[in-house]
């Protein structure tokens, strides 16, 4: 069958490629390179899966997906290094979100209040200015006042961005939304009051607890940021797809600058959790369970255990995603929505809400990837763009909208990167050359584009893509 043919072709390419390169490698080196490829592949998959899922369901190519990856990494790093600062920022973001949610809710509640077109624009302008000033003054002003201001800004943006419905939604739903809004505001207040206590508690945790909580916090931050992004910026533009793409590109630009402004330009490294951190080398995985060494011996060569963890994480999430798609009702809705959104809605399913959910899911995955990447590739402003580009190549190869395609593409690109790095570092020697030509890893990084070009020539819709 067609699908399997694509997999077979890809695997054949991989096997032949590895075979050709691997002939000259020692078995230990070969396995280490393979594992490196898998590690990279796992990271690429985490970004590409969300990218692909979001595009498949809602036709949005989220150029800012890499920014969410970067966000995850930065948030995790900050959580580990400076939980106090992170909680301060979280309060600000929550205040804005609470304000906009209140505005949207209020508009639903009272259909008569319709700010005019220009009023709405002015409200947006005022709101943005308020948020800007708040952010500017953030550390100088008393915190409660700042939060209040931010909430006011959010309110204004919400009033500006949301059109009230012509017919009011059912009462019950409005009540639920009200509860959600109040809950959001309560969390903000709570964070304001208890933030410092929580922060000092976190600062006292051990490295493992910090790491696990960083994963949760980073993923959540990404998911919330994704949901907010979809809800506030992308949703008004579903009718204008080109502008949607432009907008996400703008977010990339602004996001990079925000990261530079907050965290500075230099690269940071997140500390590895203790489980993978002891400065020793375990002889086997079983030994590692007791020793918790930073590396483990694989066929006579040492390989970082943290990277093994990343591989396992990638595989687990792949399985989880597949199960989610195949078994759950949400998965059913997604699979149906990829084909015909309108009909899903005609069955009584709130597709917009599912969109936000899937956006949050995809964003969360990317952010999780960022957290996982932070301890071994570091944290720096350009990482978002760099990894997103590889993820683009992955989805072009795999085919948009297909999670297995993303997995296969990620595997291919990851392996290509790892073996490419090996080749360029150990040098290329062709029969007519006197000595091998050594190159920098940049060459390998750029050459994955070639794989994409070849796949495009052969199958423009990607390995798993459906031809139109």
């Amino acid at each position: 069958m067609r699908r399997y043919r694509a997999v077979l072709i890809a695997l054949a390419i991989a096997v032949v490629g590895i075979g050709l390169v691997g002939r000259s490698m020692k078995p230990g080196t070969l396995v280490a390179t393979l594992l490196s490829g898998l590690t990279l592949g796992a990271l690429y998959f985490l970004i590409a899966a969300g990218l692909s899922l979001i595009f498949g369901l809602m036709d949005v190519l989220n150029f800012a997906h890499g920014t969410l990856f970067m966000l995850g990494a930065y948030v995790a790093w900050t959580w580990v290094q400076n939980p106090h600062g992170l909680l301060l920022w979280a309060g600000l973001v929550l205040a804005v979100a609470g304000g906009s949610a209140t505005a949207a809710w209020w508009l639903n509640w009272s259909p008569d209040r319709r700010p005019g077109r220009w009023t709405r624009r002015w409200l947006v302008a005022v709101g943005v200015a308020l948020i800007g000033v708040t952010a500017w003054q953030w550390l100088r002003w008393p915190q409660a006042l700042t939060l209040l201001l931010a909430a006011g800004g959010g309110l204004a943006v919400g009033l500006g961005a949301f059109r009230p419905p012509v017919v009011r939604p059912p009462h019950r739903r409005l009540v639920w939304r009200g509860v959600a809004v109040v809950g959001l505001l309560l969390v903000t207040v709570l964070l304001d009051a208890q933030g410092p206590t929580l922060a000092s508690a976190v600062a006292g945790w051990g490295s493992n607890a910090k790491f696990v909580s960083a994963i949760v916090v980073g993923t959540l931050a990404g998911a919330v940021a994704g949901a907010l992004m979809e809800w506030s910026l992308i949703r008004p533009l579903y009718e204008r797809p080109i502008y949607q793409v432009l907008l996400t590109l703008g977010i990339v630009f602004a996001g990079n600058e925000v990261a530079r402004a907050i965290w500075g330009v230099g690269a940071k490294r997140m500390e590895k959790p203790g489980w993978f951190g002891q400065p020793c080398r375990s002889e086997s995985l079983a030994a590692w369970v007791y020793e918790q060494c930073a590396s483990v011996t694989v066929l006579g060569r040492s390989f970082p255990t943290y990277r093994l963890f990343v591989i396992v994480l990638g595989v687990l999430l792949f399985v989880a995603l597949i199960v989610l798609l195949r078994r759950s009702r949400l998965g059913m809705i997604i699979r149906a929505g990829v084909q015909d959104r309108e009909m899903v809605e005609a069955l009584g399913i709130n597709v917009r809400q599912v969109f936000t959910l899937v956006f949050a899911l995809g964003a969360g995955l990317a952010a999780l990837g960022g957290v996982a990447a932070a301890p071994f590739v570091g944290v720096y402003p350009e990482m978002g763009l760099e990894y997103m580009l590889q993820a683009f190549i992955v989805v072009v190869i795999g085919g948009m909208g297909s999670v297995p395609g993303a997995a296969l593409g990620a595997l291919l690109v990851g392996l290509a990167r790892a073996f490419g790095d090996y080749i360029v570092l150990s040098g290329v020697s062709l029969p007519w050359m006197e000595k091998a030509v050594r190159m920098s890893p940049s060459i390998a990084r750029a050459s994955t584009v070639l794989i994409m070009a070849i796949v495009l020539m052969v199958r423009p819709a990607g390995l798993f893509g459906e031809e139109e």
Binding site: P165, V166, V167, P169, P170, R329, M332, I333, R335, A336, V338, Q339, D340, E342, M343, V344, E345, A346, L347, G348, I349, N350, V351, R352
Partner: protein, 239 residues
């Protein structure tokens, strides 16, 4: 008695095209109403407007006395309106059973209705685990109708169910829709005039995006001039 569905002078634009220029119709509870008219007259758009897929620019739509114009599609559906589009819109990558599951509005809907549905369309029971894309046209049509039967819908909008089907299947389908009548109300778009005449109690004719006449099916059957004029069934007449 107030009608279950009351569409009042609805105007709909698609892009800048003024597709509906004043459609009014009433669907009484417990009846089958046929929406007739030639190709491009605005029948499909009328159904889509009721569903909120192409919201009306002007006019009002009441379902059970409640205004539904301007509601998002999913909320319209949740009020108890099922829609079977003319292109059937079966989810190709979902199995027959998953297609039905997706239509559940409350957990257990399918379990409750499974006997009824599989009795109505015995074919579907047999094909339960096949993907939607592997079904034939007629089977897809049955699935599309079965899908709106899963939740407790009070009104079904069915767009050209017999289009492109073999006579045997048409017969089967007509029989199924007749049985539905005992359970729910149907607004039916049908090109096959014979089928419409057989099934419907009342009719509405739209032409050029306007309602031109409305009445009982009996009246229409005895008025060949109207049929000829608006439905263009001229075969057998003078050339």
């Amino acid at each position: 008695m107030s009608a279950l569905l009351d569409v009042q002078d609805v105007h709909t634009f698609i892009g800048q095209f003024h597709i509906l220029e004043g459609v009014s119709l009433r669907v009484e509870e417990g009846q089958i109403t046929a929406l007739l008219g030639r190709n491009g007259a605005g029948k499909t758009t009328t159904l889509r407007t009721i569903m909120g897929m192409t919201p009306p620019a002007r006019g009002a739509i009441f379902f059970d006395g409640r205004p539904i114009h301007g509601l998002p599609t999913y909320e319209v559906a949740q009020l108890g309106i099922g829609y079977v589009p003319d292109y059937r819109a079966i989810f190709r990558h979902l199995t027959v059973e998953e297609n039905l599951h997706l239509a559940e509005r409350r957990k257990g809907d399918l379990k409750r209705k499974a006997d009824f549905i599989y009795h109505l369309f015995p074919d579907l029971a047999r094909l339960r685990h096949l993907k939607g894309g592997q079904l034939s046209g007629g089977q897809q049509q049955m699935l599309a109708i079965a899908r709106v039967l899963v939740p407790d819908n009070r009104l079904l909008l069915i767009d050209e169910p017999t289009e492109g089907l073999a006579p045997v299947l048409v017969e089967q389908l007509v029989e199924a829709i007749r049985q539905l009548r005992e359970q729910t109300t149907v607004l039916l778009v049908e090109q096959n005039f014979a089928v419409a005449r057989h099934l419907a109690d009342t009719f509405v004719i739209v032409d050029d995006g306007r309602t031109v006449c409305q009445g009982t099916m009996e009246e229409l059957a005895n008025d060949p001039a109207t049929v000829h004029r608006y439905l263009g069934v001229a075969v057998g007449g003078e050339a």
